[in-house]
């Protein structure tokens, strides 16, 4: 598994890598600046600064935007080896510690613990478009906060990358 373990010396100068959750992917098209946002994201994918887990891509595979926007980036997006045992055991640990978010007793495998495990192991920034007003333990933003994982909403993420690109 390709890891970007944080090195304190370079942490400040290495650009952030974002791991995008299904909720954020599916909300891009609802934005008025969707076309512009997709262009920004495509550029970041080509730079290796936007990644996704196989489980997230599985969740969005049937959505029209997947075929149109993400299908040809599928390999580039998946830096994580879904069968890496360290990664899998970390996903299991998150599932146990955040049962409600992971649906630990349920019948379906959820992508959320994979997203958080990937961000936690590789010091990525999670991008999700969920609110956690009422049940923070069930939602990615609340769990990220509890675990000290960096998190951005889709709006914050777009604004941040747009600003950084404008500087360039």
């Amino acid at each position: 598994m390709k890891r970007r373990r944080p090195n304190p010396l370079f942490q400040q100068i290495e650009p952030d890598v974002y791991v995008i959750d299904s909720s954020a992917w599916s909300n891009i098209d609802t934005r008025s600046d969707a076309e512009d946002a997709w262009q920004l994201i495509s550029a970041l994918i080509e730079d290796g600064r936007v990644v996704a887990c196989a489980e997230v891509l599985r969740e969005v595979r049937d959505e029209p935007f997947f075929l149109l926007r993400l299908h040809h980036y599928e390999v580039q997006l998946q830096l994580a080896d879904r069968n890496d045992t360290d990664y899998l055991m970390h996903v299991g640990k998150i599932t146990r510690e955040h049962q409600a978010m992971a649906g630990a007793r349920g019948t379906k495998t959820k992508a959320d613990p994979y997203v958080i495990a990937l961000a936690e192991l590789d010091n990525y920034v999670v991008v999700a478009d969920e609110t956690c007003k009422h049940r923070p333990n069930k939602k990615i933003p609340g769990v990220c906060k509890q675990r000290g994982v960096r998190f951005k909403t889709l709006e914050e993420f777009i604004a941040e990358v747009r600003a950084s690109m404008a500087v360039k």
Binding site: S22, S23, S26, N27, E59, V60, D62, E63, P64, N83, D84, T85, L88, M89, V91, G92, K93, I94, T95, R96, Q99, A102, G103, A104, R105, G106, T107, K108, T109, K110, P113, Y114, D129, E130, T131, K133, H134, R135, K138
Partner: protein, 372 residues
């Protein structure tokens, strides 16, 4: 592929929550009992592919198999079944209970986001000390369905019409195929949401409608759980009486009979009455005896030959309804409408909605059109 250092106790937990013996589980997985025991005892570590096979066959979340420790076992819904041939609940039934339970979790979440998006539960209440005939008459009035209206519905239309009316009281209804001789249905009750699930493998629409009201009575009693409509359990007996009284009002039944009573009705008579009331033969036989229109012991005598279970007929090829219609039958109108409303109000996203309804989000416009 690498071996995964899973905790064997977690594998035992996953098998246990699905009600599988080690023999059944080994059979499902295509391995020997000794092999599965080796994985569960930790003597051998499974490959990732084998773990994925376990998740798929046990119908559990794959990531839960990777947990360092198992979760505590939860108290299952009350099992009201008392028939002598009652078996432990099968994996199909346990998964159905999980599916409905997950839906109620989701509706509780949606209500937390915006209480207006989830219909309020508006059902009455009853106790075992009440007279089921009176409770049924009172409830029937709240449904506003005349006997003529009931007679005008036939087959699946009757089932759908009753279902809509139960859903209008804020009760989610599901129809999920489960082993047909294991249970008739189940109900789940939370603080603000409730669900009824009918075994879609019941042998007739009449039987399904009877189960709908049997389970509805469980909710009135605030005694939800798993039912087989057996007559030896006090709660089951009360719910049977309620369902029979509700669907076959005494006056309407008396009016439909032209012979001097009590009378030993023939199978044909019972069948004719069952068709008139759009209920099962069994419900009519039960009601005839309870109202004194048939002699004592009539129900047991008459229904004994009907007790031979028959496998549901497979649907003929080419006559399969559309996937949307199949899902709508399974999850019910109220479930689908509530989920679609929640998406429109952005309480959930379209992916969560697709998972909750079991259809791709591109089919939502068609689903909306079907819901009208």
């Amino acid at each position: 592929m690498a071996e995964v250092p899973v905790n064997g106790k977690v594998l035992i937990w996953a098998r246990t929550i699905r009600g599988l013996s080690i023999e059944d589980a080994a059979g499902l997985l295509g391995v020997t009992v000794d092999d599965l025991h080796a994985y569960e005892s930790g003597a051998q570590k499974p490959l990732v592919g084998f773990l994925r096979l376990i998740a798929s066959k046990y119908r559990v979340n794959f990531t839960s198999l990777l947990m360092p420790e198992p979760l505590p076992l939860l108290k299952p819904p009350t099992d009201h079944r008392t028939r002598p041939d009652s078996k432990p609940l099968s994996i199909e039934t346990l998964v159905a209970i999980e599916e409905v339970s997950e839906a109620l979790d989701a509706f509780e979440d949606i209500a937390d986001e915006d209480a207006r998006l989830v219909p309020k539960l508006r059902i009455g209440s009853a106790t075992l000390q009440d007279d089921p005939e009176e409770v049924a008459a009172r409830e029937r009035r709240t449904f506003g369905v005349s006997f003529d209206m009931q007679r005008s519905w036939s087959g699946s239309k009757a089932r759908n019409q009753w279902r809509y009316r139960v859903e209008a009281k804020g009760v989610f209804t599901y129809m999920i195929p489960m082993p047909f001789n294991e249970l008739s249905g189940f109900s789940l009750l939370r603080e603000n949401v409730a669900a009824i699930c009918i075994n879609d493998n019941e042998f007739s629409e009449g039987a399904r409608i009877f189960t709908l009201f049997h389970e509805y009575c469980h909710l009135l009693l605030r005694q939800a759980g798993i039912s087989d409509e057996g007559d030896t359990n006090r709660i089951e007996r009360f719910c049977n009486e309620f369902a029979a009284c509700f669907l076959i009002p005494k006056t309407a039944l008396s009016e439909a009979i032209s012979v001097a009573t009590p009378y030993e009705f023939t199978d044909n008579d019972v069948h004719r009455l069952a068709r008139r009331f759009r209920v099962s033969n069994r419900a009519i036989a039960f009601r005839l005896e309870k109202t004194g229109l048939a002699p004592q012991g009539f129900y047991a005598r008459r229904t004994a030959p009907w007790d031979v279970p028959t496998e549901p007929k497979p649907i003929a090829e080419g006559s399969q309804p559309s996937p949307i219609r199949i899902r709508l039958k399974r999850v019910g109108r109220l479930h689908a409408e509530t989920v679609l409303q929640a998406v429109e109000h952005r309480a959930i996203n379209s992916l969560d909605a697709a998972e909750l309804i079991g259809l791709r989000s591109v089919t939502f416009p068609k689903l909306r059109a079907m819901l009208g």
